[in-house]
Symmetry: C2
Subunit: 357 residues, 2 copies
């Protein structure tokens, strides 16, 4: 039986989107491809109401951590961490041989502007990284407030946001956030198969990248930027099939509108939070809960592994807590992409039924 | 009208392979995914008769140039170049801030074992890179002979092969070639959409990588290797849809056998070369012509751009020469993946008809 994915990615991709991948391939140096890519970027620009640069790469979102490390961090970064994925950004910068300090926020809590400002005052940082939506803890970072604070006090510091599990679902406008780099991948709120990543970056990010040495090629923001300016295409062969699907799905996303998608995600999150508070409790601190993934304290101590086995028989799948730290202590319900409140309701009913809540 | 792609990638992907991408998505941390990935790796292992390590990454083949630069080159590399794509390996290593010398072979000629040995004797190199099939010139490098020579004289030097445009079509057995890293991407001789890359690497490559600093994450061979050993999965979210298609296509490839695929590619190449010699001449030096892409001297001086416009009306597409250096002076016919001699014959007939040959 097909399992409806209520995990925090990959999320369910509707059949018509999967089918959009089956068009005959076209050459990636052809005028047809240029038109396809232009349509994708134009729609992304409209959806995010941005004047910044846009690029779509053939990779998972993780590549952008390496792009940050290799193309944005010049001498020293501050990585704000609050869970497994923001930690990965910290370790990627370190593993790339760059100097990086960690501002580690307790798991379940969100970084606040004053935390970031205080940390920035203590070192000579040229880059700060945050996660918009920490997939392990279900915490939503106040990225607008942090952006406002950073850019007021430290206008030269590059503001990099991992928005993998919320961009396209949450209400995120890069120009208003004042981010220099914000990125996601296709299998989360965009409801596509994994395989492409989307980055939106400022002119300041381009200027910075030009001044950074040893950027490599696949991790070089300038390679992407300059090739696009020259040829309106990607330097390496892109995933053309998935680009067709992205083009199709962006049409649907524009029809729903950015605000419309956010409101639907918020409605699913509200429903899940209310349900969680009735039977369990939410893991994130109040007011900072994600709108795309709810991390719930497993206060009844039931086995999440067993629950998922029962759910599988009914054609559903949720996620256990992330990693050794949160597994079985919490569980996660992803409500992103194309799901709607009615379907979330069905899932919650099945959990109640299995657990006799 | 659908254009049959006789370009050197992406090549034609048959509808049933495109359709294999439309299965319902599964979570990439699920047992189902582990089974899918295991099936892919088992089939690859069988096809390439290799005892080396295997990994499938979500990227174009280009990522492996960065993996080479970041994870394999320790102090100094020798990049053997003979066209645009082998040049890209040279520049990627340089752009990653590593020391690299270039052994530049005249375009159209192939590097010979003695060239490589002589160059290796002149510097303290820890890595040598070659291209198995230079897509710009249509030259096939004698990778077995070079491997034999290198490993006899310089056993500690890592032997890295970019086989993007021939692996899965040409006869390439990594263990017999004695390569330490050999890689390709899915849109060439594998006849799939672009979006995944395949790397086969030796235990020595793993040992080397462990000793190299600042490997980053997406460019870290060890990150892939160790995660696989621990979890039999990929560290970053893989393109699950394309993995389904790869699994399906590998079944077909095993049925045809490695030798069978090579013989079919050779038959298509033979046909194209004979035709080219009748009307034009081949660009590569005799004996070193690629079996997957024929680069032909445009001795009649006809416009390739115009030819492609006429071919488009008939549902065909070939390639112009690569870059400013070879454009209009040469043209390229890709005959790889799932094409067969009959279809190549049709294409050649259409060219004759358009040009009145």
């Amino acid at each position: 039986m097909h399992k409806r994915l209520f995990i925090p990615g990959p999320t369910e991709t509707p059949p018509e989107i999967l089918q959009a991948q089956t068009k005959w391939l076209i050459g990636h140096r052809s005028a047809e491809y240029t038109a396809l890519y232009d349509s994708v970027l134009t729609q992304l620009r409209k959806f995010f109401e941005t004047k910044q640069h846009l690029t779509v790469l053939t990779s998972s979102g993780t590549l952008w951590m390496d792009i940050t490390a290799r193309s944005i961090v010049k001498k020293k970064a501050l990585a704000v961490t609050c869970g497994a994925f923001s930690n990965r950004m910290f370790s990627t910068i370190k593993d790339a041989g760059k100097d990086v300090d960690q501002l580690d926020i307790e798991w379940g809590k969100a970084a606040k502007p004053e935390d970031v400002l205080e940390a920035l005052s203590k070192g000579d940082y040229d880059t700060v990284t945050v996660v918009a939506n920490e997939t392990s803890t279900g915490v939503r970072t106040p990225v607008y407030e942090i952006g406002e604070a950073i850019k007021k006090e430290y206008p030269d510091v590059m503001y990099v946001i991992d928005a993998v599990s919320s961009l396209g679902g949450d209400l995120l406008y890069p120009d208003k956030i004042k981010s220099d780099v914000i990125f996601t991948s296709t299998q989360k709120a965009f409801a596509l198969p994994p395989g492409l990543s989307i980055g939106i970056f400022s002119e300041d990010a381009v200027t910075r990248a030009r001044s950074v040495d040893a950027r490599g090629h696949y991790t070089d923001l300038i390679a992407y930027h300059d090739y696009y300016l020259k040829k309106k295409q990607n330097p390496a062969t892109p995933n053309v099939s998935l680009m067709f699907a992205l083009d199709y799905q962006l049409g649907r996303m524009l029809e729903e509108t950015h605000v419309g998608r956010y409101e639907r995600h918020l409605a699913m999150a509200d429903l899940t939070r209310k349900w969680a508070k009735k039977h369990f409790e939410m893991f994130p601190e109040p007011g900072y809960e994600s709108v795309t993934v709810s991390t719930i304290n497993n206060t009844l101590g039931r086995s999440i592994g067993d629950l998922n086995k029962e759910l599988a028989k009914r054609g559903y799948q949720i996620s256990n807590g992330y990693g050794t730290k949160l597994k079985e202590i919490t569980f996660r319900i992803g409500h992103m992409g194309e799901w709607n409140p009615t379907e979330v309701q069905s899932l919650l009913w099945h959990i109640e039924d299995i657990w006799g809540l």
